[in-house]
């Protein structure tokens, strides 16, 4: 497995070298946290070098966007990311992310490049594209943009025991997606899902498509395993600030701690983030697919319990 990982990393680096995408390294310990209510970072509070608490990054996104604003051109990074409370057969609290950004691309062009990378690592597989809306309509007979939360809940309860779970429309959409739709994607090779509800695409450009607000976000599932998450990136600093504030409001509402906004990112965006598309891909999961592992722990030198 150590060799398999080394080979995979080499293959990834070769892929980007051929395409003139620059490898970068950005800090793991950041002053600003992430406002996303679904992500809990690890907080570092001890250290003579600390003026205030710092956060282990949940992704290198903010730092890489600052580089893009400074004129870096296309960049990629192989970095360790950290998410507290996420452990299981497909999650390790510390995990490896491949994240890259292409100025001038939209999300469709980037999906093409993601497919090329994944096929370079896994071999030829069929590729399908579904809009989020079409996928729900096709598999569940529901319009995810129009259906009321109560209708989504009812649909979930038809096939699953969800006990006392309750929440907003996004919670039910997440549940339907992960429990009823993802299993159907097994065996379909590479499945791209694009154009998500705007509420589920916080860092993406938002547009009205067919009378509904969609975020230009995409996800890649390979044989039912969620592998990558990408966006046609939002570049408007004011809109980004508004979304971060909204995230914190949702945190407050759920009784969670608010996170300080990344003012350095917002300043860089004000100075000018070039139009670009970006994507984050789980390297451990890519290795799982390549090596045929059913559990992420099989791909790690030392998993969480043993590190």
């Amino acid at each position: 497995m150590l060799r398999a990982r080394a080979t995979l990393l080499g293959r990834i680096r070769h892929f980007f070298a051929e395409r003139d995408v620059l490898e970068v390294e950005t800090p793991l310990l950041c002053s600003a946290g992430v406002t996303d209510p679904a992500i809990e970072p690890f907080v570092v509070e001890q250290g003579a070098s600390l003026v205030a608490a710092r956060f282990l990054q949940s992704s290198p996104e903010y730092a890489m966007k600052r580089l893009l604003a400074a004129g870096s051109g296309p960049i990629y990074q192989l970095a360790r990311a950290f998410r507290d409370g996420e452990a299981g057969g497909r999650h390790n609290p510390e995990f490896s992310l491949l994240e890259w950004y292409q100025p001038g691309y939209d999300h469709h062009r980037l999906m093409g490049e993601v497919a090329e990378l994944v096929q370079a690592c896994l071999g030829d597989k069929p590729v399908q594209h579904y809009s989020y809306r079409a996928l729900f309509q096709q598999e569940l007979g529901i319009d995810p943009f129009v259906a009321e939360p109560a209708a989504l809940e009812a649909r979930a309860r038809e096939e699953l025991d969800v006990g006392s779970v309750s929440g907003d429309r996004d919670l039910w959409l997440d549940l339907l997606m992960s429990h009823l739709i993802e299993p159907v994607l097994v065996g379909r090779g590479l499945c791209f899902v694009y154009d998500y509800p705007a509420t589920q695409a916080a860092l993406a450009r938002v547009d009205t498509v067919d009378d509904v607000l969609v975020g230009h976000r995409f996800e890649l599932y390979v044989d039912g395993l969620e592998l990558a998450n990408g966006y046609w990136e939002l570049t408007d600093a004011q809109e980004q600030r508004r979304r971060f504030v909204e995230d914190n409001r949702r945190r407050r509402q759920r009784g969670m701690a608010e996170r300080p906004l990344d003012e350095q990112l917002l300043a860089a965006m004000s100075a000018g983030l070039p139009a670009c598309a970006g994507v984050a891909l789980g390297v451990d999961r890519l290795l799982m697919l390549r090596a045929g592992c059913s559990d992420i722990r099989q791909t790690l030198a030392f998993d969480w319990a043993r590190s």
Partner: protein, 190 residues
């Protein structure tokens, strides 16, 4: 009892769910990259035996169930209850027909059994994997009938009916696999 959160759910953990004691069989963490986290948990209801899957929001917690497995010695039955004793403390427990279930076919005095206690009361009984019981009734076998195939039913002292080879007769003690109800051989020692 202590409360357990979804990230503490492990196979074998006993919890209360909808007022019933349950054993956790499996716990799958499910989280889309930018979405909310769930746990898909497989459970067995220790009262009904039913196995099913329920989804919880990650972070939800359940009360632990006061369920313990104890090795006890079977004492006797008065037809209504079956009596067991903890060999270390000499404490006695009585189990009703529902708790004993099919185990009553294989209970032999002084044999050790696994008794599952719920709130200090027997919930279920598991007999030992093998037990040696006397045949109290069976048709006589033909003399010399040792190598021939074929079997006949034999009633054991507990009331269990087991298929045995034709050469066995009443009064003989045989060994039975309690999990399958199958004859294993003659008893190891008289």
């Amino acid at each position: 009892m202590a409360n357990y959160s979804t990230n503490e759910f492990r196979s074998g953990l006993k919890v209360m769910l909808d007022g019933e004691p349950c054993s956790i069989l499996d716990n799958e963490f499910v989280k889309p990259g930018k979405g909310q986290a769930f746990n898909r948990v497989k459970l067995r209801n220790l009262n009904s035996g039913r196995v099913w899957e329920r989804t919880f929001k990650s972070g939800e917690s359940l009360e632990g169930a006061d369920v313990m497995d104890r090795t006890m010695e079977y004492l006797y039955t008065d037809g209504e209850f079956w009596y067991f004793m903890e060999p270390d403390t000499f404490e006695q427990y009585q189990a009703d027909a529902k708790a004993v279930g099919d185990a009553h076919l294989w209970l032999k005095e002084q044999e050790r059994c696994e008794v599952t206690l719920y709130n200090d009361s027997p919930l279920s009984v598991a007999p030992p994997n093998f037990v040696e019981l006397e045949i109290i009734e069976t048709d006589p076998g033909l003399k010399g009938d040792t190598a021939q195939g074929g079997s006949k039913p034999a009633t054991l002292s507990t009331g269990a009916v087991v298929k045995v080879p034709l050469f066995l007769s009443q009064g003989e003690v045989i060994r039975v696999d309690t999990r399958t109800g199958e004859y294993q051989g003659r008893a190891s020692k008289s």
